[in-house]
Amino acid sequence: MASNSVAAAPKAGASPGAFRAIVEFIARHRVLAAIAVLAVLPFLTPYEALAVNILVFGLYAMGFNLIFGYAGMLSFGHAALFGLGAYGCGIPIAKFGIPWFAALPMGIAVAGIASVVIGWFAIRSRGIYFAMITLALSQVVYYSTYQWVSLTGGEDGLRGVNVPVINIFGLHLNMLNPLVKYYVLFALGAVAIALFSRILNSPFGGVLEAIRENEKRAMACGYDVARTRWLAFILSGLFSGFAGALYAIHLSVVPIETLNYFNSAEVLMITLLGGMGTFFGAFVGAYVYIMLQDVVTVVTVHWQLVIGTLFVVLILFFPRGIWGSLLKWVRP
């Protein structure tokens, strides 16, 4: 299949030494590498819309990874943050005719406010309880949105998030052209990627890892664990909401499924596939997951069964995920 050979293309023909050097380079220059790979992504997918999905879900997984991989807390409610980002951006466009560049920050803000609230409740708990509370609160968001038909479109989803043309710096960009749309969203995503890397490099990023490694010790060192976690959850929500807002612009509709708990599970799978706590892993995971989904759905409607099986095998034999295992191989 065409997409299979494309998936193998970056590795094909490279000797282990050269491949090792590539992995090392990507790990060292993670922002540059992520942006470079995403820049050629439309040519590594069978069609452009798939590239947009990979971009959006890669950004979503990146945001999710902050709380899951870096802070070590499994949130099962990120669909609410992603979905509210989508609705928060889509509603101003569809219902109030607000331009996209104003609606996008609104989407991020709505997700941010939701993560302040959800985070405030959830950070008090640990482990499975944290997962359950985030799940419960995200379901509250799901059903509220489902019921509020006049604003959200309810079961049918939000329609009419039309951004046909973007005028920027004198450029007249036709968003109906999928390739143009990809690069517009990619440019926005690149800013988020650079910002995210900056946060990981910040003192706060170090504190997050310290808390994941040893909460008690971090506390004795003078770190306010609860507040640090809360801030991490909020930041994670902002990035997830940003991805959701891009998704709304991409699809021109916001399906109610964006808020469904299955969407929380998907981002978890993407992150685990790519490698939790790795920067580049989010995008590797998104690429593999969405490409697989695209390939398998052609063959069978039971694509979840195939992906589920693969997922179990990966978790059993490569718990670090694809990118995480490669990193371990390069840096034992």
């Binding site: 900056r198 946060i199 490099n201 910040s202 003192p203 706060f204 990023g205 170090g206 504190v207 890892e209 310290a210 490694e213 040893n214 008690k216 010790r217 971090a218 506390m219 004795a220 060192c221 003078g222 770190y223 306010d224 664990v225 507040r227 640090t228 801030l231 930041l235």
Partner: protein, 260 residues
């Protein structure tokens, strides 16, 4: 000086206590681990808390370090009530502690362990400046030199020997520049030679700050402590200089069979 003021001055201890506990009791369910303990620690002193197993030493340590609040009674720092203050706040008020069971950041390097501890004084929620711009390397190197780990800086914690991990534990505690250093059995699991080196190190550290340490090996602390507090069954059995404690009948009875 009038007689009343003179009398007040006489009653005042030679230095103001930097830390004190007043009537501290800690119960776990029906079990009273600590019963009405009152004592104080003077600035710059080295106090050892000793007692046989189950005497309530660790409970007392955890109350002092803010790990949990006492059921009754109060804890003071510089005369201010700090009972129930969260641990991370205590760290900024100048109380640092080491744990009885080695408690470090296992996957981080030796250097990074100390660096992240030192960073707490500088930036806790900074999202923008890269960590490297905090320029903590000099501080970290000085601390590693202090505990003799300068050659292991790039190694990960799990590759260190037990004694070295204990030393790193001290360096991490020192990184927040504490005025009061609380050490919970710093020599736990150490060979006699390592334990002696550790005591020498503690004595050096005491030159700049107050040290309160918990130890169940009595002999180790006799020579270096300014003051010794003996706990037994959760109550304060005796306190005083090493000589006072050696001559104390009750202490002898508790440590029956051991030469004090």
């Amino acid at each position: 000086m009038n007689p009343a003021a003179h009398a007040a001055a006489q009653m005042k201890p030679p230095t103001t206590p930097i830390m004190a506990v007043d009537g501290v009791t800690k119960r776990f369910g029906g079990f009273t681990a600590l019963n009405n303990v009152t004592t104080s620690f003077h600035a710059g002193s080295l106090t050892s808390i000793i007692g046989p197993n189950g005497a309530g030493k660790s409970t007392f340590f955890n109350v002092l370090s803010g790990q949990f609040p006492p059921t009754m009674g109060k804890v003071f720092l510089d005369g201010a009530d700090i009972t129930g203050t969260p641990q991370h706040r205590l760290a900024h008020m100048g109380i640092a502690k080491s744990f009885q069971i080695t408690n470090l950041f296992p996957k981080l390097s030796v250097h990074e362990n100390v660096r992240i501890a030192a960073q707490a004084l500088r930036s806790r929620f900074g999202l923008w400046q890269p960590r490297a711009t905090l320029k903590l390397d000099e501080t970290v190197e000085a601390l590693l030199l202090r505990v003799g780990l300068q050659d292991r800086r790039h190694e990960s914690v799990d590759t260190l020997a037990h004694g070295q991990q204990r030393c790193l534990e001290i360096a991490v505690a020192l990184a927040c520049e504490p005025r009061v250093l609380l050490l919970d059995e710093p020599t736990a699991g150490m060979s006699p030679e390592e334990a002696k080196d550790m005591m020498d190190l503690i004595l050096k550290l005491n030159a700049e700050r107050t040290v309160i340490l918990v130890e169940h090996r009595m002999k180790l602390v006799m020579g270096i402590s300014d003051r010794i507090v003996v706990l037994h069954h959760g109550t304060l059995l005796a306190e005083g200089t090493a000589d006072d404690i050696r001559g104390h009948d009750e202490v002898r009875r508790v440590y029956l069979g051991q030469s004090v």
